[in-house]
């Protein structure tokens, strides 16, 4: 009943190709956006901003970038963490070399550096596929983290070897560094994430998206119907790495405040890959659902016992947490191997025909 599509007729192809051909989808998205832009910021505590809202958005953005490469274009990558690092270090260098630069511009430009590096490490994809390509991207992962550590110019010869985000302002409003407030940073992240998601949706449903999906599903057929595989794969690497790079810059500048090279090591790559897989490869919504599960659930689980007034030792809680999140991941993947997005799609299909399933 909630999802009644009867009576929603399309009289032009333009209408049929609208972003939300079904009214209820647009309505739901409206509610989500209202929550994200108005209700959460009004109600959230400092803790919620720092542990839930901002990181979920940033991780979702990184997963979106990876999903374009792995989910849409079918090129498996294990170097996401390092590409995030490239974005973060590029942003840091730009900000410290040109302190007058608008931090938002710097963040958006830093994606270009990771896009370039991504394309460079994407070149092997023209010859190798699948797990072998994953190993090639793994080489990128190790090389880049090594570079972050050894190339002292990158962190301005700090004794600590880490990068520290300075206070940055836009017209007197601090957006990064110790003096920036969480809510400002949250809004900035939200704005960038919304814009990039919108662009990514359009790219994936248009001609380029079909080119990517064709490359993923059957590369030989794709080539024989006129797709230049090299172009298709390298644009996927470029756009994916751009988004991942921006996510990396946001990760350090809008959330962590400081970063050491090993922050971008392989656990981060895996974390983003898990978000993309559990959310659903080849979907946009899935990245958000996956990020909520992987980033948000542990935080929520941590607060449950104290909220209920039960005292649990923190070490025990930590382990319980891992067990619960782990089993939930297995549970979700068993009931729907294609991720949370597919689960949602199934529910939606059922809702559309409910209560008469024939």
């Amino acid at each position: 009943m909630l999802y009644r599509t009867a009576g929603q007729f399309k009289t032009s192809y333009r209408a049929d190709q609208a972003l939300f051909p079904i009214k209820q989808d647009a309505f739901l998205l409206g509610i989500v956006l209202l929550c994200a832009w108005v209700i959460f910021p009004l109600t959230a505590s400092e803790f919620a901003f720092q542990t839930l809202l901002t990181p979920i958005l940033i991780y979702a953005l990184a997963a979106l970038g990876l999903n374009i490469l792995t989910g849409y274009a079918g090129q498996l990558s294990l170097g996401t963490g390092a590409f995030m690092g490239v974005g973060a270090y590029a942003c840091y260098k730009m900000i410290t070399l040109m302190p007058w630069m608008n931090p938002v511009v710097a963040i958006l430009l830093s994606g270009l550096f990771s896009a370039g590096v991504g394309v460079m490490f994407g070149i092997p994809s023209l010859r190798i596929k699948g797990f072998y390509l994953a190993i090639a991207t793994l080489a990128a992962q190790f090389f880049l983290v090594w570079l972050f550590e050894k190339w002292a110019w990158l962190y301005n010869y700090n004794a600590s070897g880490a990068i520290q985000v300075p206070n940055l302002d836009i017209f007197g409003l601090y957006v990064a560094g110790p003096q920036a407030s969480s809510i400002t940073q949250y809004y900035l992240v939200l704005a960038i994430v919304c814009v990039l998601t919108y662009l990514a949706i359009n790219l994936t449903r248009g001609n380029l998206g079909r080119t990517w999906k064709a490359t993923r599903d059957m590369d030989i057929a794709a080539e024989l119907i006129g797709i230049n595989l090299m172009k298709s794969k390298l644009t996927a690497f470029a756009i994916s790495s751009y988004i991942v790079g921006v996510a990396g810059a946001l990760f350090v500048f809008m959330w962590r405040g400081a970063a050491e090279p090993n922050l971008f090591d392989i656990p981060l790559s895996f974390r983003v890959l898990f978000i993309a897989i559990i959310g659903g490869l080849g979907s946009i919504l899935g990245n958000y659902l996956g990020a909520i599960l992987i980033v948000g659930l542990p935080v929520v689980l941590n607060t449950v016992p104290s909220a209920l007034g039960i005292h649990v030792e923190s070490a025990l809680l930590e382990h319980l947490n891992i067990m619960i999140v782990g089993s939930l991941i297995i549970f979700f993947l068993i009931i729907e191997p294609h991720g949370l997005n597919a689960l949602w799609r199934l529910i939606r299909e059922k809702l559309i025909i409910w209560p008469f399933p024939h």
């Binding site: 999906k213 599903d217 080539e223 024989l224 119907i225 006129g226």
Partner: protein, 272 residues
């Protein structure tokens, strides 16, 4: 041989034009194996040209040479009156050579509509920026090409499944969707690799009708490989017969049927 035939109109009123594609002394080797040995034949505009022969005769290799997937060691492919330089398969496709595959090669993760839309990508030129913003040229192209695609979908009678993921379709329909995807590119030359393999009689009849309609309505030149002799002899204007990589016959269905070489190698003699 019929190298001298002039442009003419067939009995059923179709226009057969000049030579569209010509294979000149093609030899293709894989290491020591000779897949195609010194074969020459031409394909004329507007005709339906069949390539037949026993398994392993080199028919599919021939099609792969035409679509630029294999590069012959000797010989030239002439297209529209000029020798074709070595090029990548996607460049060949962009020159107007479309094809379907022996084993269905659809994009399983996409809907029927998206599959057919992918076939039109050679007609889409909007920049990445336009596409990302979904405005201007990109949006206009999406709408315009959707109209073209809908015509093909109507033509092949697959309206009802346009939004179904291809993975869920039965075999016969997948074959039809594959034809739709190839047609969407508006090819000048359409290569069909065993379009009726694995179909029942009814599906074969449907497919034959579609092939004839495509040729008739769009004037598309068609080169096809098929094992069902009844179908081949009914559909095609001229037939090339291959055996062990060599050409053993070339001519109208009647000529080929009565050729002793072809009977010996492939057709056989009906049992008394």
């Amino acid at each position: 041989m019929k190298d001298t035939i002039e442009p003419h109109v067939t009995e059923d009123g179709r226009q057969i034009g000049g030579v569209l594609m010509e294979m000149k002394n093609i030899t293709l080797r894989f290491g020591g194996v000779v897949a195609i040995k010194d074969i020459s034949f031409d394909i004329r505009e507007g005709e339906i040209r069949a390539i037949i022969g026993p398994n392993g005769a080199g028919k599919s290799s021939m099609l792969n040479v035409i679509s630029g997937f294999y590069h012959p060691q000797e010989g030239e492919v002439w297209y529209r009156g000029a020798p074709r330089p070595p090029m990548k398969p996607y460049e060949v496709a962009r020159q107007g050579v479309g094809r379907t595959f022996q084993n269905i090669a659809l994009f399983e993760g996409m809907t029927v509509l998206d599959n057919v839309m992918t076939g039109r990508l050679t007609h889409m030129h909007a920049s990445i920026w336009d596409q990302a913003l979904w405005w201007g040229k990109a949006e206009a192209e999406e709408v315009h090409n959707r109209e073209q695609v809908e015509k093909i979908i109507d033509f092949l009678e697959i309206q009802a499944i346009r939004k179904t993921p291809v993975g869920r379709l039965p075999y016969g329909l997948k074959k039809r969707v594959e034809l739709a995807r190839a047609l969407a590119a508006e090819p000048s030359l359409l290569l069909l690799d065993e379009p009726m393999a694995g179909m029942n009689v009814e599906e074969k009849e449907d497919m034959s009708r579609f092939i004839l309609d495509v040729n008739d309505e769009f004037g598309t030149t068609i080169a096809l490989i098929e094992h069902d002799m009844g179908v081949v002899m009914d559909l095609s204007d001229r037939v090339v017969v291959m055996d062990y990589g060599k050409k053993i016959g070339d001519g109208t269905p009647d000529e080929v049927r009565s050729s002793q070489d072809v009977i010996d190698a492939y057709l056989g003699v009906p049992h008394e």
